[in-house]
């Protein structure tokens, strides 16, 4: 099971691709097949299983599109 | 028609501003009165851009087109935003490559041009606007196609002269309307 999980508020995505550059495990990519209501190709996750929940993608997203969840651990 | 009033609209980057300028320039060369008016301001940021062009035999009062004789919609938001600005009996030119719906309006002439697809056939995605322009000119007769070619020659000089042939070709392709 993945340690982390992210969801997108997809209609607010502007397709800028910064989340893609931020993911250390390279699982975020742009969905070239989809156009959201604002006319952009939104980002999505290709291999959800690999998500570590590091939140880098969310931290990098200028439009606060991403929510990140992680398995509870002591920190 | 003695009075052509265009609203030309699309994404920033689709070349809608220069479409309008070329039309106005050609009108001027043919001795007509012309005006060109762009939208400006933050709505241009990532949103749609549009310009108003009037080509007329008489002096033009306001460069604003409130009732257009032709609307050119290069993308979907443009169609929804401007279809109501078309006067009864006016023409709407729809970029069928990006728009797959029809206008809700009645009493208008609608033309569908797959401008991007045709441009891709010509190996140059940037000339979708010229394809559309060809179609507009053919249908409205607002200016002569030769005048537009002359404009292109004036616009693309030096370095850029090599772009003339492909632009001319795009214009020509556009003259073949897909109704």
């Amino acid at each position: 099971m993945a340690k982390g999980k992210i969801t997108f508020n997809e209609d607010q995505c502007k397709g800028c691709g910064l989340c893609v550059t931020a993911c250390p495990v390279k699982i975020v990519e742009m969905n070239e097949k989809k156009i959201n209501s604002r006319g952009y190709h939104p980002a999505h996750v290709s291999e959800p299983d690999k998500c570590t929940g590091c939140a880098n993608c969310a931290i990098m997203c200028p439009d606060v599109v991403i929510t990140v969840y992680r398995e509870a651990k002591k920190d | 028609m003695a009075d052509h009033r265009f609203i030309i609209s699309g994404f920033g980057g689709q070349g809608v501003m220069s479409m309008g300028m070329i039309l106005a320039y050609a009108g001027m060369l043919e001795g007509k009165e012309v005006t060109w008016l762009p939208s400006y301001g933050p709505e241009m940021r990532g949103g749609t851009a549009n310009c108003h062009v009037i080509i007329s035999d008489k002096p033009i009062s306001s460069p604003i087109v409130s009732k257009a004789t032709s609307v050119v919609a290069m993308n979907l938001p443009s169609l929804t935003k401007f279809q109501d600005s078309l006067e009864d009996g006016g023409s709407i030119f729809i970029n069928a490559s990006l728009i797959n719906i029809k206008p809700d309006r009645k009493n208008i002439k609608d033309y569908y041009i797959s401008a991007n697809d045709i441009a891709m056939q010509l190996q140059n995605s940037k000339i979708a606007n010229m394809v559309m322009l060809g179609a507009i000119i053919k249908e409205t007769g607002v200016v002569r196609i030769e005048t537009v070619e002359k404009v292109l020659e004036k616009m693309f000089q030096g370095e850029k002269a090599k772009l003339i042939p492909v632009n001319k070709e795009a214009l020509k392709k556009g003259e073949v309307l897909q109704n």
Partner: protein
């Protein structure tokens, strides 16, 4: 010369350069950015200087410096930016320095919006800076006038040693129209011996100054400026009378608005209604005398402005109690349509209260 298609803002720049202006100091603000941008491209080519100032205040004071140094110089801005220049304009006026200031106005007050507006009429014609001074204000209605008036403005500035304002709006700044540089018969202009160019140790020092600490001296200076203002009022008024013969009704409008009024007038003519237009081309000096030419047949006057009503004060002064005055305003960046105007007039003639 052949006609060229130009954007209004660039036409301001082109005309200025044609008029021999090699210096421009300005600060970005929508909807006039193409003026400084044009100047930044073109002035270096002719050995002139474009400088982006840190603010409108710095820009107008650089203009003060450059004008005092004896050259033709221009600045441009839009509404709130012009508000910031008021102190500087007052200084320039007091020192009797020539320069040209373009206001491509937008909706206000405050930050307002960026769409075309005429709500800077007071700001342009009634100073806003301190003290007794006036500035000639040109109001072009099309791009050919942008060219012609800009070139004239430099001459008028030099002839009278006075800052000249050109009052345009976002639409005029942004639109394109064919223009042409016509042959001009220049005015004979005084030479600038007063300029602070360095004495070269060949003459007494010049100083550019607006301080008169002895009030009798300041009073004398004020009357001197006043005499100049009277001279300008006598010689430099410009206006257009359009369809005024037998006008049943008269509209007063300037700039962009006047174009739309003309359209409305044509439409009404088709319906058999004779409406005339007084179009001030100079907002100061204001064409008060145009009101003397209004035919007796006229039933009333409508002032149309893209504001909630500013020029109407001058209309009242010009009218001097003769005809009933009505108002149609379209503030905030909204541009009136010919239909609105025609409807208003028909309502008035149909009995609407003023």
């Amino acid at each position: 010369m052949a006609k060229v298609l130009m954007k209004g803002n660039e036409a301001f720049g082109a005309a200025a350069i044609k008029a021999g202006c090699k210096y421009f100091f300005g600060y970005p603000i929508t909807p006039q950015n193409e003026i400084p941008e044009y100047m930044s491209r073109e002035l270096p080519k002719i050995g002139g200087c474009f400088l982006q100032a840190e603010s409108e205040i710095a820009a107008i004071n650089m203009v003060y410096g450059a004008s005092g140094a004896g050259v033709r110089v221009m600045t441009s801005s839009s509404s709130p930016g012009i508000a910031l220049k008021q102190e500087g304009i007052s200084y320039i006026a007091s020192c009797e320095l020539p320069c040209v200031i373009i206001n491509v106005s937008r909706g206000g007050p405050g930050l307002g919006g960026i769409q075309p507006s005429q709500s800077d009429y007071f700001q342009n014609t009634r100073g806003g800076g301190n003290g007794d001074y006036r500035t000639p204000v040109y109001a072009p209605a099309n791009l050919q006038e942008v060219i012609d008036m800009t070139m004239d403005a430099f001459d008028v500035a030099d002839q009278y040693r006075i800052p000249v304002i050109i009052s345009a709006d976002g639409m005029i700044g942004q639109m394109m129209e064919p223009i042409e540089f016509k042959e001009r018969t220049g005015r004979s202009l005084p030479s600038k011996e007063w300029a602070a160019t360095g004495t070269n140790e060949e003459r007494e020092p010049n100083s550019i100054n607006s301080l008169y600490i002895v009030h009798e001296d300041l009073e004398k200076h004020n009357w001197k400026l006043d005499a100049k203002h009277k001279l300008i009022e006598e010689n430099e008024v410009q206006y257009e009378m359009y369809q005024m013969k037998d006008a049943e009704f008269v509209v007063v409008a300037y700039g962009t608005t006047s174009r739309i009024v003309k359209s409305a007038i044509m439409d009404m003519k088709k319906e058999g209604l004779n409406v005339g237009l007084i179009r001030p081309k100079t907002l100061w000096p204001y064409p008060y005398k145009a009101f003397d030419e209004i035919p007796k047949s006229t039933k009333g006057i409508l002032t149309v402005e893209m504001s909630t009503g500013q020029m109407i004060d001058d209309v009242k002064i010009g009218n001097n109690g003769r005809f009933p005055i009505h108002f149609l305003g379209s503030p905030g960046g909204s541009v009136p349509s010919p239909e609105m105007i025609a409807e208003k007039i028909k309502n008035i003639l149909g009995g609407e209260k003023k």
